[in-house]
Structure formats: C-alpha cells, structure tokens
C-alpha cells in the first residue's frame, strides 16, 4: 500500500506543501584522507593561479608531498582507530565505505603516489634548457610541438607545474574508487581519476606526438568504456531500484521486501542484473587492463611520460582491483556462480596473452606494459578465489607489485640518449658493463616481476595462487605457472641484454638522478626485498584488512 502511495506521490508532489529535506550527515573524520588530498589539489590550482612561476615548482612539490603524507597519516590513524576492523562503517550516507580493504588500498595508493610525485619532480635527468633545469613534462602543454610558442616557453624556462594538482586530483579519485559503496560514487570516482590522467599522458616533454596520441587513445577508449560502465549501472539500477551495493546485494540474494507487481517487469529481472553486472565488470576490467580490454595499455604506457606511466601502472591497478573486489564480494556474491566462470576465462586469457605477446617486444615500456597485463591475470586468479584469503592475497600482491612497477619505470627514466629516454631494448645492450649498479637494480625488479623466490613478486604470486588453489581454482594455478614460465623468458632476455652482451659504442648514457628519483628506486628495491624475505607482517596487515563491510 505504502508503495502505491509513494508512486502516486510522484506526480501529486506539487500539491503537497514542500517537505523538509534532511541535511546529509557526513563523517568528515573518516573521509579525511580523500578530503585532504582533494583540498591539496584545490590549493595547488590556487598556487598555479597566484604564485609567480619561479616559486610554483617548489610550492607545488611541497604542497603535494605534505598533502599526501598527511592523508597517509590520516589513513594510519583511522586504521589504528579500529576502522579497519570492528569499527568499519559506511560513511557519507552510504556513499563510501570505510573498512579494512578500503583503508589498506588507500594507504598503498597514497604511498605509491608519494613516490610517484618524487619522480614527477625529478629535474636532473634532462639536460638544462637555456640554463633552466627541466623535468620530463612539456614546457607548455598547449603549445604546438616545435612551434614558436613552445620555443619561447622553453627559453623562458616554463614548466608544467600543473601536473602536481592534476596528480592530486587523480589520487583523490583513486582513493574514493575502491571505497565507493554505491555505483554512482563508483562512476564519479572513476571519472575523477581518469580525466587528470588523460591530461597527464599528453604532457611529455620529448616525443610529444607519441604522448598526445597516447592521450587521445586513452581518452577515447576510456570514455567509451565508462559509457559502458554507466549503462551497466543504469541496468543494475533498473534491476534493483537502488544503486547502493548493499541494496543491490539484498535484491540479488532475494532477501529484499516483496516486490510490487507493478514493478515486477524490471524489479529482480535477472537479464538486467546479468547484463548490467557484465557491463560494470567490463568497465573495471578496462581500468585494470585485462584481456580483451587491455589494448590501450601498451600504447598509453609507451606514449605517456615515463613518471606518469609508472604512476598510472601502479596506482590505477590498485584502485581498479580494489573496486573490482568490492563489487564482486559485496554486490554480486549472490551470483558467484554466474561471474566466476566468466572471470576464469578472462584470467586465463589475460595471463597467457600478456606473457606470450611480451616475448617479442622490443621497447622496454611496452614490455613492462604487457608484463602488467600478465600480472593483472595473476591478480584476477586471486580475485576469483572468492574467500577472505583471496582478498588479502590480492591486497598483498597489489602492494608488492605497485612498488616494483614504480621502481622499474623510475629506472627507465635514467637510461637516456640524445632523443630523451632510450627505451628501445637494443640500446640497453651491455648496460651492466657501463653502470652495474643501475643494471643490477633493474635486474632485481625484473626478477621480482618474474616471481623468483626471495623477491616480493614470489611472495605475492604464491599468496595469490595459494588462495586460488584453496578456492578450487587449480586449473588457474597450472595456467599461472605455465605463463610465468613464458614470462620468465622475456625478463631474462632483458637481463641477458644488460649483462652478457657487449655495450654499443653509441649506447645511451645513464643519467645520475637527484635524491628524488634515487629515493623512489631505493624504496622500490627495499620493499621488493623486504616483502620477499619477511612478508609475514604485511601479510598480517592484508589479512586483517581482508573483510568488507556491507
């Protein structure tokens, strides 16, 4: 009866006296991390607007570092306050969940971004242009490559310091993405962190054309996929009449109140559910770069400025998988038997294709792109486990993987020749002879990618496969080890190239980085080794963060 009334009230609304709309109740404390970051971003814009050019770089750097650090502190505080465990709540009127996985992922994202910002700010690699130290971003994004405007900008020593606020906005979106507790928030967060990334991709100082092309591709495909995601959201809304995860979950598991016959046509219509779910899944799989939605990855990774690539490769994956986990574990657990087989297929294809295609790559950045695809496959294996173990293993893997990736791309920024970074593999020949240290570090990262014991890569891989096997996905484990074997081949190939082949006369030089990049790389190595040798503490952390709140 009451529903009939509410339906009726839809168009008799005008007649009634306007009802009082309750003010939304927001738990600012629990949203602190996101708010801090976004606030920092806004401040950054103001800085751009009001500070003189000379001062901006340092101001921005300081601002973003402080902002991210503060946000991270907030996350830690929340976790320490028990929000990861018993005090896990849904905040902001059901829009955002503050629970273990969310906090763990937010913490990781913040750390990764902090490191990434260091690499953004690196100014010692490129030779000084007209006496100005420059970073790897265009002097003036809007200027035509090689045009007078650009030359002028270079002469004037302009640099695109906007990258810092952009990055912060992206981080803000990423923080919300895995915590989003309704599909609308999910969508908005997605756009919030995607749009700045599109822009960042276009801002490379060298090889602008490639950079812009990658931006266009990323943008168009990204928009395309988000459209799909949105349509999926629409269908799910149609199915459940609500977009909150818990609401949908209730309908799925059939624990919802009896349905009005008038709405029976849509309410609980499984076709809507299945199609909608599939489309939303697709949107997320696109972001994590799973086959067959992976094709943007190599091009964008290669074209984008390397620091951005590193940032993207690491942070986007974390956010994407975070959202994916929440969606599958909170919204669709009731239909596990529908999505698991599909995800099986996706995982298998992703692992194999990523590994196989990488074998013939000749460009370091593309190589790492394909390897990231293969790794997405491995992580999916953990996702499919559909058990708390699975969740924590995925969390651990993401943490381990993101630092390795960041470190690897930071090393890529160091190997340069006249044309900027020398990313073609042939140029890496004999690097081990020229500068053993850099080569050794890169080798460590590669071995971690390959999952050699005593590196974080192995611990992560083992955790994920173990969870998968216990979840009854033995086949995935077999395929996993097989594709790891294939993958090992091309990681090894790079090592061979660096150490066992004679350096070329016109080979690239290895730039000596400032403390910034050095820190990034050092942290990468440290995390790789620590997580490889003594992972227990972090496994505990991920383990405690293993349960979602509904």
């Amino acid at each position: 009866m009451s529903h009939a009334a509410s339906v009726h009230s839809l168009w008799t609304l005008a007649a009634d006296p306007p009802r009082e709309i309750p003010a939304p109740h927001i738990e600012y404390a629990q949203l602190a991390p996101t708010l801090i970051v976004l606030g920092g971003a806004v401040l950054g814009i103001l800085v751009e607007a009001f500070l003189p050019r000379r001062a901006r770089y340092h101001a921005q750097l300081l601002l973003s570092v402080v902002g991210l650090a503060a946000a991270f502190a907030a996350v830690v505080a929340l976790a320490a306050g028990g929000h990861a465990g018993e005090k896990a709540r849904i905040a902001a009127m059901g829009a955002v969940a503050v629970d273990g996985p969310a906090l763990f992922l937010q913490g990781t994202i913040l750390l990764v971004s902090l490191i990434a910002v260091f690499t953004f700010a690196e100014r010692r690699l490129d030779p000084a242009a007209h006496g100005n130290r420059v970073d790897s971003f265009a002097a003036q994004g809007s200027a035509v490559p090689g045009g007078e405007a650009e030359q002028a900008a270079v002469k004037a020593g302009f640099t695109t310091t906007e990258v810092f606020p952009l990055a912060l906005f992206a981080v803000g979106g990423m923080l919300v993405f895995p915590a989003a507790n309704d599909l609308l928030t999910l969508f908005v967060a997605l756009e919030v962190f995607s749009l700045p990334l599109y822009v960042l991709c276009a801002l490379a100082r060298r090889q602008r054309l490639l950079s812009q092309e990658s931006a266009v591709k990323y943008f168009l495909l990204g928009a395309f996929s988000s459209a799909f995601l949105l349509f999926g959201v629409a269908l799910l809304y149609g199915y459940a009449g609500t977009v909150t995860y818990s609401g949908i979950a209730e309908v799925v598991s059939g624990t919802t109140r009896t349905v009005d016959p008038a709405l029976a046509s849509t309410m609980g219509n499984d076709a809507l559910l299945l199609i909608g779910g599939a489309l939303v899944l697709m949107g997320l799989l696109f972001k994590v770069g799973a086959v067959p939605f992976h094709m943007w990855t190599p091009d964008v990774y290669q074209g984008a400025p390397t620091p951005v690539t590193g940032f993207m490769a690491a942070a986007t994956k974390i956010a994407g998988f975070g959202a994916l986990l929440r969606l599958l574990y909170v919204v669709l657990p009731g239909m596990r038997w529908d999505w698991r087989p599909v995800m099986w297929g996706v995982a298998i294809v992703t692992m194999l294709l990523g590994a196989i295609v990488a074998v013939t790559q000749t460009d370091v950045k593309r190589l790492l792109a394909y390897s990231s695809i293969a790794h997405a496959g491995f992580i999916l294996a953990g996702v499919i486990a559909a058990s708390p173990d699975g969740v924590s293993s995925v969390l651990f893997y993401l943490a381990a993987y993101s630092f390795v990736t960041l470190g690897a791309f930071s090393v890529v920024t160091l190997v340069r020749d006249a044309g900027g970074e020398a990313t073609h593999l042939s140029k890496w020949a004999g690097l081990g002879r020229r500068s053993p240290l850099v080569a050794a570090v890169f080798a460590v990262f590669l071995l971690a990618f390959a999952g050699i014991p005593l590196t974080s890569g192995f611990a992560g891989k083992f955790a994920v496969f173990k969870a998968a096997a216990q979840g009854g996905a033995g086949t995935l484990v077999i395929v996993g080890v097989l594709s790891s074997a294939i993958a090992a081949f091309f990681y090894i190939r790079v090592i061979v190239l660096m150490f066992f082949s004679e350096p070329k006369a016109d080979g690239p030089t290895v730039a000596v980085p400032s403390a910034l990049t050095s820190t990034a790389i050092a942290v990468g190595v440290a995390v790789t080794v620590v997580l490889g040798v003594a992972p227990q503490y972090f496994l505990d952390l991920a383990g405690q963060a293993g349960t979602f709140v509904r």
Binding site: K217, F228, D270, P292, F293, M295
Partner: protein
C-alpha cells in the same frame, strides 16, 4: 704369519707409489728400488711357503681379515686375505718370475728415459696380481682383476708416442672390461643368491643353490676368464698387446696375468662342479682357443705375435683342463706354472734377440743368429723343447697330463677333446719349430734399415741373460720335479680336489701319441723351413695362411660389426639428441615466439580497432554471463 700376506701386496704397492709420485730425483735409482721391492715380496712369499710346508695338508690355508671395506646393510665386503696352496703356487710364480723380469728389464730398458715410470708400473702390476690371488672374496679379487687390467693398459701403451701402442692398450682394456662385466654381474648374482661373495661361504654352500643359478654364475665367470685370458671370443686384444715392451709381454701376457682366468675357474671349482653345462662351455672354449691360437701362431712372421698365438693356445689347454673339473684342475695349474717358466723364457729370448737386432721383430729378417747370441740360443732352445713337450722337459709332463685328462672326460666328448688336444700338440710343435729355425738357423737375412745402419747382432748384458738362464732351468726341470710321485697333485688336492675319471685309453698310449704327433709336427716344419731358404718377404700364401695372418678375420669382424656399428650408433644418437630431444624444446620456444608475433599484429595502433575488441569483449562477456545462468 697372517700379517705377512698383507705385506706381500704392500711391498710392490709401496714401490709403485714411490716410483710414480717420487719425481725426477728417483730417475737414477728407480729401477733398482723397483727390483728390490719385487725381490722383497718374493722373499716374503718364500718365507710363507716354508711356513706352510711346516703344517700338514688341511691346516695349511691361512686366513685373515684386515678391515671392513664396504659395509652397507646386508652387503658386507671385507679386505681379507686367504693363502692356501693354490694361492701360494701363484704367489711364488708371480713374485719369482716377476723379480727375474724386473732384473731383465734393468738391462732391457736401460736407455729409456721413462725407465722410472716403467718400473713403477711393473710394481703396480705385481701388487694387483698378488691381491688377485690372495683375496678372500670375489669383490676384492675383482679389485686385483681390474688392477692388473690397468697395469697391462699402462704397460702396453708404455711407448705412448706410437699411436699403435696407444690403440692396442685401449683395446686391451676395453675388451677386458667386457669380461669384467661378466665378473661383476656374477658377484651380484652371488650376493643375491648367497647374501655374500666371500670364497668360504659361497663355495661351501654352492651345492644348496639351484643348478640354474650355478650355471648362470659359472657362465658369467667364464666370460670374465675369456676376457682376461684371451680366450675366444675375447682373444683379439692379446696379439696387439705385443706393442708393449718385451718384458711386459713376458711377465703379463705370457706368465701371469693372462692365466688369471684359469685361477678364477679353478678357485670357483665347486660352482663349476655344480654346473655341468657351464663346464661343457668351458671345455669348448678351451678346445677352440687352443686350436685357434696354434693356427694363428703358424702364420705370424712377427716373433712376438707368433709367441702370443702360442700363449693363447697354451692357455686354451689350461682352460680345457680346468673345464674338466676335478679331473683337470691340478693339471691346469701345473701346466700354468711350467708354461709360466718356458713361455717367459721364450719371450725374454725374443726380447734379447730384438735387443740385438735394433728391435727388429720380423723373423724373416733374422736367421743364423745362434752364432751371434749363444746364451739366448741355448735358453730359447730349451724353452722351445719344453713347450713342444719334448719328453723329460716340463711341458711334456704337464701337457701330457692334460691330454690324458681330456680323454678321461669319457664318452664322445672325451674323444673330441682329446683329439683336439693332440692336434694342438702337433701344431704347437710345428709353429715353434718354425720360429726356432727362422730365428736361429739358416743364413742371415737382415739388411740395413731405412737409415742405412745394419744391425750388429750381439749377446745381451748379464742382467738380461741371468733371468733367461734361471727360467731355462725352470722350463727344463719344473715338470719333472712336480711329477715325482705326484708331488704337485698332493700339494694342490686339498684345495681343488681330484678324481681320476675313467680314461678309455691308457696313459702310455696317450704319451706315445703325443710323442708321435710331436715328431710329425717338427718334421713338417723342418721340411718347410729347414731344407730350403726362407724368403725375406712373406709369400702370399694359401687362403688359410692369409686368414691366419689376420687372426682368422676375427678382428675384421669386430671392426666391421662393433667399431663401425658403434660409430654409426653414436653419430646417429648425437643427431637425435640435437635435433629430436633438444629440437622439441627449442621448437616449443620458437612456436611461442611465432604465436607472440602473430598476436602482436592485432595491436595495430588504430584506436577504433581497439574499441572493436572492447565492444566484442563486452558482447562476449554478456553472452557468457547469460549462458552461465542458462545452463
């Protein structure tokens, strides 16, 4: 006393160690050290012998366990020595002849710069050979068995700069290895059958094992014996072994090592007694070989090769005797000892001749040497008379007994074997006479060699002649002494046992027959070589002759079937390994690469095609999900 047995082996071993590791500072004195230690072990042998004579029949055997060698679960191998009459006989022969030949070598190898190493090897051989005969279990015997093999390998290939020598050495070792396979499997079979491989238990409880097992063991032992004693079909290495220095041929390839097979069979008597079929095989091998060797001996112009053939055939006699069982064991050993004397003597003689003739070995380049080297002539002559079994000399007694025993086997076998033995005797007489005439009689046929320096035949130095004289004595009297009221028989019987069998023909008849065939053989040779001059270059000769020169084509068979076949096998396997086994692996890698390239083509850089794949992916995803629900 027991401890002395160990010393017996250790003395020459010490010598070997000293000489081989001693370095240049021993170059001057090395050969004397070696000789001294050989003599030492001879003295020890004599002491032990005296001690043994001090006790009567049954208590004579000494036994001692030195230490536990390989103890693993039920597998208990000890280093232990057993010295009974049989071993004692060998010990005396080995050390005695060994010492003499050391002495001889002092002269013979005087000008060789690697003298020290030579004597080291000789001592090593003595040690191994002694270990072989005093070991108290088959595994330790196996150590000695391969030890002598090693020594013979080193000594045959002593002049390594000659490819022929190196090849001969390798051949000898490998052919012997084939025999050794037999011995090792035999030991394993003993272990699984009796749970041990010590002489005592195995031989005592041999009866309890089934005949099948015994036959198997016995045949395997026979294989081993064939390898070591150069019996058909594993005889091919002995002829080439003559590449080694002559003293080596005398000691190892005539007097001692090659007779190890006879020792093995005699030692394992109670096994063979339990396996008649195996015994049949043994006598067959013996008979075949004694004819084979004799025939080969007739055709060779190389004096050492001729003697090698004769060795083969003489050992054939021994094997034959040993195969006869209790009837023959004693005589096998007896012939072994006398043969040790005269054959060693003959070889030393040959060596002395070569020494005087710039190492010329072709008898067709000798002739009339009796004037130039009288001592050699006399000693060689006595050895010659002994081997052809001239009445009264050693060979006569021992060989005669074997022929008797062969008949005593009884039945058709008896006749066949006896006949073969007689025939062999005739041929022996023939080819030995041939050697004798071609070397010492007739007119001299030697000419200057390539460098134009003609040989000046001369008698060898004392160090060489003395051993020859001593051995000559042995070859004259040993047989007689042994036969004086069957001394040797009584001496060995406690160990080997003895039975007289039932001979269809009287001993006298046999003796007569032997003398007759002997005369025939000598006469034949005389007519062929004594009456008319010997051509300096070998005539083409009959088909048989040519075949005999080539060891009756047995070597060619080996070459074609085994060597060539083996080469083809290995070559094809190398191919298989590279292209098949490895090919699979590399193929997989390549195919992955190809696949990779093909898939990468999809990444064509067109954003719209990427969008297509996304769209398709979405479609697939939807359909798949729906299907999942449908099914």
């Amino acid at each position: 006393m027991e401890n002395l047995i160990g010393l017996l082996v250790v003395a020459p071993l010490l010598g070997a160690a000293l000489l081989l590791c001693g370095g240049r500072r021993l170059d001057k004195s090395g050969h004397w050290i070696g000789t001294l230690l050989a003599a030492a072990s001879f003295v020890i042998g004599v002491v032990l012998f005296a001690d043994m004579l001090g006790r009567d029949g049954e208590q004579r055997a000494l036994h001692t366990t030195v230490f536990s060698w390989v103890p693993v679960g039920g597998f208990q191998a000890d280093v232990g020595f057993q010295l009974d009459q049989l071993s004692m006989t060998f010990v005396l022969l080995i050390t005695g002849v060994g010492t003499l030949i050391h002495l001889y070598s002092v002269g013979y190898m005087e000008h060789d710069e690697k003298k020290r190493r030579f004597f080291g090897y000789l001592n090593l051989f003595l040690a191994a050979m002694l270990l072989l005969v005093v070991a108290d279990n088959y595994l330790l015997l196996y150590v000695g068995w391969e030890g002598v093999g090693l020594a013979s390998y080193l000594l045959i290939g002593f002049w390594q700069h000659k490819p022929s020598a190196a090849t001969a050495a390798k051949k000898a070792f490998i052919v012997n290895r084939v025999g050794d396979v037999g011995l090792s499997i035999a030991i394993m079979l003993m272990f699984t059958t009796f749970g041990t491989f010590a002489f005592g238990p195995v031989l005592e409880s041999a009866g309890d094992a089934g005949e099948g097992k015994l036959t198997a063991v016995a045949l395997l032992l026979l294989l081993a014996a064939c390898g070591k004693s150069a019996q058909v079909p594993l005889q091919s290495w002995l002829g080439d072994a003559m590449e080694g220095p002559t003293p080596v041929s005398a000691l190892i390839h005539a007097a001692t090592m090659v007779t190890a097979g006879v020792y093995l069979i005699t030692r394992s008597g109670s096994i063979f007694n339990g396996a008649p079929d195996a015994q049949l095989a043994v006598v067959t091998v013996g008979a075949v070989t004694l004819l084979f060797g004799a025939i080969v001996g007739c055709a060779k112009d190389d004096i050492k090769k001729a003697l090698a053939g004769s060795t083969m055939s003489q050992i054939g006699y021994m094997i034959l005797a040993a195969g006869l069982g209790p009837i023959g064991y004693v005589f096998a050993i007896m012939h072994l000892v006398t043969h040790g004397f005269f054959k060693a003597g003959l070889f030393l003689g040959a060596g002395s001749v070569m020494h005087g003739m710039n190492d010329e070995v072709d008898m067709r380049r000798y002739g009339g040497l009796r004037k130039y080297m009288p001592v050699t002539f006399v000693t060689f002559g006595l050895g010659y008379l002994a081997i052809i079994g001239f009445p009264g000399l050693s060979g006569f007694f021992s060989k005669d007994k074997i022929i008797e025993a062969a008949f005593a086997k009884g039945g058709t076998e008896g006749w066949i074997l006896g006949g073969a033995a007689l025939l062999g005797a005739a041929i022996t007489a023939y080819y030995m006479t041939r050697v004798m005439i071609m070397t010492f009689f007739g007119e001299k046929r030697w000419q200057p060699d390539a460098e134009g320096n003609a040989p000046h035949p001369h008698e060898s130095p004392r160090t060489m002649t003395i051993p020859m004289v001593v051995l000559a004595f042995g070859s004259v009297f040993a047989g007689g002494l042994f036969s004086v009221n069957d001394a040797f028989l009584k001496w060995l019987e406690p160990v080997t046992g003895h039975s007289h069998g039932n001979s269809p023909v009287s001993a006298l008849t046999v003796t007569a027959a032997t003398v007759v065939v002997l005369v025939v053989g000598v006469a034949l040779a005389w007519f062929q070589y004594g009456r008319r001059p010997v051509p300096a270059t070998a005539p083409r000769g009959s088909l048989l002759t040519r075949a005999a020169r080539r060891d009756l084509l047995q070597d060619d068979f080996n070459h074609v079937v085994l060597v060539r076949g083996g080469e083809h096998l290995t070559r094809s396997l190398v191919y298989v390994d590279h292209s098949l086994v490895d090919g699979v692996v590399n193929g997989t890698a390549a195919s992955v690469g190809g696949l990779s390239g093909r898939i990468a083509k999809l990444q064509n850089g067109y954003a719209r095609s990427y969008a297509v794949s996304m769209f398709g992916g979405a479609a697939v995803l939807i359909v798949a999900t729906l299907l999942m629900r449908a099914v």
